[in-house]
Symmetry: D2
Subunit: 196 residues, 4 copies
């Protein structure tokens, strides 16, 4: 019911930048899980550091995650389950638990923009520059990056904060995003927020 | 991360019909709240009965609700708050608490289809016939109905399961939806599921 | 094919304002056509004057039109047919033929935003303030206005540049847009471009 | 204006399959044009044969093309210009001119689904199986394929009817679509319409 009040209600934080964590909360309980985990775990460790830096700089973190709850259970419950149940993905979920002031958007398919509120959330935040991280580089990160580019977002996709099943697949996806999406793929340590 | 598994994962229930409850979880804590509540409470009581019938008939219930949590807190937490905090909307939230097997979709604006996963969820369910209920008839119900019609859904909008601030506004919105959206607006007691 | 060139190519004109002409190119060859035409023709005459003023002020005109060609024939061909074939809508099409530098967007359903490029075009133009005109006030103008509002556009919908089948239906739709969409519905003569 | 008539109007042809020709009408007048043309011209010749077979089988052809007219000029005019003006892309435009009963959808960005009516058109046709062809394999064909997959279309992307700047880039994009989008990438001669 939206009549007389401003439909946007509580104003969210404003930030030109936003950090997207794509499918980091995941049980990794599928055949290719172990191969992906080998690369995903070190990437998650670097992402922990990047997320801290972003937080200090006032850059909001947005979990863009598969909707494991299938529109029936809540995200925080999904996080708790992923941490507790000792699934293959628990170590990553433990490294990167969403904080109370982190945002989350649940996606039904591969791209974070497809049939979700991500675009509206980013518009409310005033964010036009996105840092894309997570798994896997050549699937959900790639789909999300392609969609972000068509919506005119500027992209940073640090090469050390995402992962694929093989180093080659990861590298090729990064090259694609650098060339066709004009993404800055420098490692996270080189990433400068607020720079134009 | 979606590679090798079926992106749709656990198959949701299949149903040609779906019952949408629009903004029934709401604090009603705004200037026009009392006027709307006068009509909304009796409508909510009838909706309780309709929801029970739908449940027995295997028709899934989908809460299509404003995202009061602003992408930071979970829906079930919002429900608990709405029930507990004795806001003007508590009586309705108590009448219509979401069950564990109910679905929910959080919407950022007026229409349940705008920047949400509702269309994907309905497609998964195989639902083509929607029963629209909730508040207010001439705003969020109307916006959602218009969008549903453009997406070729068949609409039932029982005149006694939604409400607006005035009886006249409610009636006019129902007439609009009957005429331009070919909606069946007969009272809920006359509604027959599964009928073609 | 979009690789190395800027996908946006030729920069369109920039303008904070845009004038939308909704379904003005129409054969009006349906049962309610005569009723609607009685009100639509005077509205079209005022729209001619408004379009001239907009043009002088550098405000681009966008025809947002039903796709009569059904994805097989071009818009200008549709215009020519509507002008030449002496259909009931010819007088309006003759009054308001699209100029070479006018834009057009073909819509498959009622709202100008549904499954069209309108949002992308407006974003390229930099337009955030829309003047909505055309037919019918309580259907395609209303659907388009609702969608524009959810996308955070500021709306002017001059009461004398759109029309419905009855004066009452027209007035009610205008009231709805004034109240719920915060639209400025003052007559076209009072409309000031560039004002903030 | 859509009131009383069925908004869908003239029923388009029905077909489970649809053939998409992506950016085949293109001037190829950009730095990488010559490299791409070397591969695109042979692919276009095979596409001519495939389009004929599709036509005989009642499979509609849909041109999904960059909007060179920038929302100001018509597609058929763009085609004529591309054929006549002896641009690098003329030979392909001459090989594959749209017929009167072909459909066309103009796209503002890379994916044929982004801000276009393609999804609505395919829904009207009843098409669930898409044959994707055109240029370039690793950009607009890939973006369109990704989006089609998220919308649950079944994909055939014959390896000999699309092209990229290098054979390696073409092959990698085909492998990506085969693996992640479950696309059938067999050569066009092996493609069987109507098969389930």
């Amino acid at each position: 019911m939206k009549t007389p009040r401003d439909p946007h209600g509580v104003a969210p934080d404003k930030s030109e930048w936003a950090l997207l964590l794509i499918d980091v909360i995941n049980d990794f309980d599928f055949p290719e899980g172990p191969k992906l985990l080998r690369f995903a775990l070190p990437a998650a460790r670097r992402l922990v550091a990047l997320k801290k830096r972003a937080h200090r700089a006032g850059v909001p973190a947005i979990y863009v995650n598969d909707n494991f709850g299938r529109w029936r259970s809540d995200f925080r419950k999904q996080v708790a389950r992923c941490v507790d149940q000792k699934c293959p993905g628990s170590p990553i979920a433990k490294l990167l638990p969403p904080a109370d002031d982190d945002y989350f958007v649940l996606k039904p398919k591969h791209s974070g923009f497809f049939s979700t509120s991500l675009d509206v959330l980013l518009s409310h935040l005033g964010a036009r520059k996105l840092i894309l991280t997570g798994f896997a580089t050549d699937i959900c990160v790639l789909f999300t990056a392609d969609d972000a580019y068509m919506r005119d977002y500027q992209l940073s996709i640090p090469v050390d904060c995402s992962a694929a099943e093989t180093a080659a697949a990861h590298r090729r996806a990064c090259e694609h995003m650098k060339r066709f999406l004009k993404a800055d793929i420098r490692p996270s340590a080189k990433l400068r927020f607020r720079a134009d």
